[in-house]
Structure formats: C-alpha cells, structure tokens
Amino acid sequence: MFIDMHVHPAFFEPINEDAGVEQLRHDVLNIHKNGTAPLEHIFNQMKCASLDRLCLLPEDYSTQVGRAIVTNEEIRKLLDLAPDKFIGFAGADPYDVKAAEKLEYAFTELKLSGLKLHPSRQHFYPNDAILGPLIEICERYNKPIIFHSGLSIEPNTYTKYARPTEFEELAANHPNLRICLAHFGWPWVQETAMLMLKYPNVYADTGLLYFDNAYEFYERVFHQDMPVTWIDRSLRHQVMFGSNNPRFEQIRMADAITKLGFRDSTLELIKGGNALEFLNGR
C-alpha cells in the first residue's frame, strides 16, 4: 500500500464547475497555469507514481476570504467518486465561531478521517487556546491533525507560526493526539526530527521540494541535513510519504523516496504503514 498523505485537490475537475471559485483558488493558493484535472488524469498520475491512495486536504480560511477554499462537503463529494482511492480530511478555520460544530459534522456525518490546519495562513500559534475546541473534538473522535509546518509559498503566510518548536507544547500536552508536521518543517528539519524523537505522537510528511529536483532535494535533506540513519533507525515509524501535489512533483517524489537508501522495511512504513497508524491509531 503506497499512500500520498499530502494532496490538495483544489483543482480536481469535479469540484471546479464554477470559474469564479477556480480563480479564487488560483489566487489564494498561489498556484497558476495548471488548469483543472479530470479524475481520469489523477488516476493516471497515481498509476505513474505507483500510488494506491491519496489523502485529500482542504483549506478553510473562510473568516479571511469569505468561504473555504475547498469545503468539507467537496472533499466528501470526491471521496464518493472514488472511495477506493481517496482518503479525506476536514478543514476548519479556528476563528470561525462555528468551527467546532462544523468539524464535528465533518467527522460524524461526512465521515472524514482527520483535520488539516495551516497556522501560517490562518495566523495562530499551535499552542493557542483558540484551538482548544477543535483539539477536544479530534481527541474525542480519535482523529489526527495535519499541520502545515515550515515554509509556505502561499501569500499572506507568516512562517513564525509554523516553526516546529512551536508545536512542542501541543505534542506534550496531548500525548494521545497524533499530529503531523507537514513538509517536515522545512527548513527546520532537525527541529522536526528532535520533536519526533521526543514525542512519539509527532509525525512528519515528506512534502518538501523547495529547491532543485525531487531526488536532489530529498538527498540534501535526508542525507546531508540529517543522516539517513536518523529516520531509518530512530524515526522510522513516524515519517509518511506526502507530495504536496499540485505544488510539487508527485511522480518524481514518489520515485525519489525509494532511492534514498532506507531499509526495505523502513520504506514500506514510509510508503503506507505509518499512514495507516497515523489515521487509525497504534
């Protein structure tokens, strides 16, 4: 089982019937000239990358831009179109007074598998009390949270909110809450590794490709910024493959992750085993 835990479906054709909404997505996400992708194209891309499942992540900045960029209902719609290929997360805007109510609905009625939050874009620190109701719901329903961490290319984002060390209090105070630091917290990958070593409820995904090509950048991060042995020996149960498609190169990243010299058993965990534990609990 090969799972891409970090896919943004904002430009999937079935949820882009409205040209105005599509343009809003281009503007807010700062992704351009990519058009929209029919699901047949997505499935072909999965086949080229040898991927079995995609975890679809929405964005909800509704108090800032007037609507969720991708709604939880749209995630549900995509899941219904390909239930054997997609896993769906919920979005929530912590500043929305109805955020908790919407999140509970997303878990109980829409049957979504976790929560995606973006501190840099939504402008909150991970230990901010405003997250309390959302965290309580995630713990009650045993649902994990994926946080954007490190650099964001989106406009109106501030990296200070998503530096890995900002997540320590959250990880320490909620040991039963599984959290993922997306993009491995780049450029602070050693801080991310530090948190993962200390807190087994902290995961990271590999959705990072900010310079060079997929293999070159992975080689830089996972061989030079940290030796490959850190993951292969110590963090092997906490790293999940993610591409951050469409911002990054899903097919080439899926290939590059297999060429870094991890043991086969570690690679299997990164490709899917860890994602299943992150989603369902150990």
Binding site: L29, H32, E40, C48, I153, N213, E216, F248, E249
Partner: protein, 123 residues
C-alpha cells in the same frame, strides 16, 4: 479557408506514444477541404508531434534514443520553484524531448484526403 479543430488526449504513461493519424485523417475528411494543407500542432510544451512508421520496434528505438539524449537524472536547470506557477518545475525531460521532436507536422490534402506514404504515421 481555414478550419480549426482540436483533439484532446489524456496520456496514461510517464512517456508515451499516441498514434493520432486516424483522427487527423477523419478531421480532414469531415472538413470537406479538397486540396490544401493540414497542420497538426500541439499546444503543450512537454508534448511533441512527429511523423514516422508506427512499428513497435521503431517506437522502442525512438523512445530509447530520446532517453539516451535526455536522461532522467541530470543536473537540469529547469528544476526550481517557478514564481509564476507557484509550483516546482520538475519536467525538463518532457520539455527537451518535445524540443527534439518538434511541436508540429504537416500533410498535404489532395482530393479530400491526406497525402502520405504508406508507412507514415503521426505520433
């Protein structure tokens, strides 16, 4: 008289030949143009159009020829975050292979049909 028709294709492989000869010939027949030229041009800069014989062995040779000239792993400059796209460029090999094949081919239309050699196919 100029008539513009579009063919939309979804590829299923990382590198793939798609035979479009029959579709081009059908569009020419439908056009009712008896004598002239048909220009087949791709809009996408990582796709190419060429004319050759569509034999399994030749397609394999062409694919390996392109792969030798444009290896997958090479320090290409087109591997960086592109501000205009907001995404990372990772497809230099597609661009360079398209550069080698060119983005178009032409056929003469004679008596309402495409004039080509028996072996000629548009890929």
């Amino acid at each position: 008289m100029v008539l513009l028709k579009q063919i939309k294709l979804l590829t299923t492989g990382y590198n793939q030949f798609v035979l479009i000869t029959e579709q081009v010939m059908e569009l020419v027949r439908e056009s009712n143009i008896k004598n002239g030229m048909v220009h087949v041009i791709t809009k996408h800069t990582t796709t190419g159009i060429t004319v050759n014989e569509s034999l399994e062995c030749l397609e394999s040779d062409i694919e390996e020829f392109l792969a030798r000239l444009v290896p997958e792993h090479f320090p290409y400059a087109h591997a960086r975050m592109l501000p205009d796209y907001g995404s990372t460029a990772g497809n230099p090999t597609g661009h360079l292979k398209a550069h080698l094949t060119g983005n178009h081919c032409h056929f003469v239309i004679s008596d309402g049909d495409v004039l080509k050699g028996d072996a000629g196919r548009a890929l």
